[in-house]
């Protein structure tokens, strides 16, 4: 019984890992024979676009942390009328097709949009436009992770601290936040990753400056797979390195979820 349990566990796990790995492995391995790969590695435009993507995703994630953490805390601690509606709203970006999200953002942040018409910041075809598009699609991921994090903190710790005379601010910053920090960090990492991968919404509001996904698309339609492949491989490899590095930094090497 025990034996068959692990066998099935392993078999299913292997299948899903292969499913993720295979397309990526094929993309990267074909680049070893592609002379375009070395060329792309030396191409300044490629690195600029990747840096821009990482930077914009970082700004979007920081914004999500600053404005999303309070909401996540409220949603995990307090019940109030309309809470499920707020929760539903927070999840909407996940179901909206990305192009539609881009169009909606354009309606708000465009030069004649609700906010864009009076904002001194220019969103269309500019960095702030990229950041709002990334934020829109990635904020639900952060909110859900952070809410789960606060949910996992024993409320009694907070209550004890309060009875000992700590202010609400102090309790939040010295108890709730540190105890939820791992969830929050994991959520922020996923939100950052999601932001990097965004294409559909960004390309509507900001074709320029070109983020890496737009550049890949651009290379693909103007020259073809041979030119898009190397950039894709570079982005995948670099993101893999960054991801593994951050995970090791944050959680050490072999910490399983239960030990955290």
């Amino acid at each position: 019984m025990r034996h068959s349990f692990f066998l099935i566990l392993t078999a299913f796990s292997a299948l899903i890992v292969l499913f993720i790995l295979l397309p990526i492995a094929v993309t990267i391995s074909t680049q070893f024979y592609n002379p375009g790969f070395a060329q792309a590695m030396r191409d300044r435009a490629v690195w600029n676009s990747i840096l821009l993507t990482y930077y914009a995703a970082l700004l979007s994630t920081l914004t999500a942390i600053i404005f999303g953490t309070p909401l996540a805390y409220i949603l995990s601690r307090y019940s109030f009328p309309g809470r499920s509606i707020v929760e539903g709203i927070a999840d909407i970006p996940v179901v909206i097709p990305h192009t539609a999200a881009g169009i909606s953002l354009l309606a708000v942040f465009g030069s004649n949009g609700l906010i864009g018409s009076f904002s001194p910041v220019k969103f269309v075809d500019a960095l702030p436009g990229i950041v709002v598009a990334m934020l829109f699609v990635s904020v639900p991921i952060y909110l859900n992770a952070a809410r789960e994090g606060f949910g996992s903190v024993d409320v009694r710790f907070e209550q004890v601290a309060r009875t000992l005379g700590a202010s609400q601010w102090r309790v939040f910053f010295t108890i709730s936040l540190p105890l939820a920090a791992r969830h929050i960090a994991a959520g922020a990492l996923m939100a950052w990753a999601r932001a990097i991968s965004e294409f559909g919404a960004i390309v509507v509001i900001a074709y320029y400056p070109m983020v890496a996904p737009t550049l890949i698309y651009e290379r693909y339609i103007s020259t073809g797979l041979s030119a898009a492949g190397p950039v894709t491989a570079i982005l995948i490899l670099l993101s893999l390195v960054v991801f593994v590095a951050i995970r090791i930094l944050l959680w050490g090497k072999n910490v399983s979820r239960s030990e955290r």
């Binding site: 435009a45 320029y208 070109m210 651009e218 339609i221 103007s222 020259t223």
Partner: protein
């Protein structure tokens, strides 16, 4: 625990059930029409500017052949062709906004003939909200575009025929109006795009897309012409270089440009030739009248229905639809390699 397993089983059952329902739906429909039980899927890959007429044609075709489901995929013309030549996807019909792309990219491996069936015309689209909408006309349009507060858009010349044609129109305007600063003032000053004169022709060598570097306060560039429509609708830009058909189908107001520069007339083909765009990938395109091309790729899975679809496109009904939607049909249509045509299509060219 048991509850979750139950839930999972229910979900799987639901998924299976959905599959059954879909299947029965299909067989019923097909049964009613007395044709085979599996629907034939006819894949039509076409240029973005053909979206509206293709919708109409699909409706007619599916009514006529209830056993066939037509799946249209719109994209830039080059990308449309690349879906077949590079991604090796099966398509039954390919329709391009630039008929020359089919021989250039598909012959001889993926296709062997091209039928030219409709034409188009470059116009300057705008809305009532566009700046100087009440003042602009076919004579002063380039002066209006020159005003610093006016923004306009075109699609990326590297990706989209509509994009390089916009550049051609602006350069031809310099020659036609005898004003050598039109392209410089409108585009060159605000980007890395520039025409240079080489032995009587004017050549625009496109940088890579990431290096076009447009001043986004003046120009709005998107990969495909259809993506700029929302820009014009939301007032992001005041004017947009686009095909007449698209402007007409979206109910934009538009300025008709002189036929000498709007790439619509065979009569001025020699004049159009004076401008050349070299795309970043090295492809060289000389100005010529905008003519749509259609072909059936070699990897088509349903050549019989594909031929019927092409017949519909180039026949009377198709011609009527194209006329109504602002893409005047070629009467009669023309073909490059008549000997390579499928038998059923030869009658149109005898």
């Amino acid at each position: 625990m048991k509850r979750y397993i139950l839930l999972l089983i229910l979900l799987i059952l639901a998924a299976l059930l959905c599959g059954c329902v879909q299947n029965t739906g299909k067989t019923e429909q097909a049964g009613n029409a007395h044709v085979q039980s599996e629907k034939v899927v006819l894949k039509v890959f076409h240029a973005g500017s053909l979206t509206e007429p293709m919708k109409e044609l699909t409706k007619i075709f599916e009514e006529r052949y209830p056993g066939v489901e037509v799946q249209c995929e719109a994209a830039g013309s080059a990308k449309t062709i690349r879906k077949v030549t590079e991604l090796h996807r099966n398509a039954d019909v390919i329709a391009s906004a630039d008929y020359t792309l089919i021989p250039k990219m598909m012959y001889p491996e993926y296709a062997n003939w091209t039928i030219m069936f409709a034409k188009n015309q470059m116009v300057l689209a705008y809305t009532n909200e566009s700046k100087y909408a009440s003042k602009i006309n076919s004579n002063n349009w380039y002066q209006i575009l020159r005003r610093p507060e006016v923004r306009f858009g075109f699609s990326n010349p590297n990706d989209d025929p509509c994009g390089y044609r916009s550049q051609m129109v602006l350069q031809l305007a310099e020659l036609y109006y005898n004003d050598s600063k039109i392209y410089d003032d409108l585009v060159a000053k605000h980007s890395n795009l520039k025409f240079v004169e080489e032995n009587g022709t004017y050549v625009l060598r496109m940088p890579n897309s990431e290096n076009i570097n447009p001043d986004t306060n003046k120009l709005m560039i998107r990969s495909m012409e259809m993506e700029l429509i929302s820009g014009l609708e939301t007032g992001e830009i005041d004017y947009l270089f686009i095909y007449r058909s698209v402007a007409q189908q979206h109910h934009f107001r538009f300025i008709e440009l002189p036929p000498q520069i709007d790439l619509s007339s065979n009569q001025y083909a020699d004049f159009y030739k004076k401008v050349v765009v070299v795309q970043a990938n090295g492809k060289k395109i000389a100005g010529k009248p905008v003519v749509y091309g259609i072909t059936i790729p070699e990897n088509s899975m349903h050549k019989d229905y594909a031929e019927k679809f092409v017949e519909l496109v180039i026949g009377k009904e198709g011609q009527k639809i194209f006329k109504e939607l602002g893409q005047p049909p070629l009467m009669p249509p023309r073909v490059d390699n008549a000997d390579k045509l499928p038998e059923s299509l030869k009658r149109f060219f005898s």
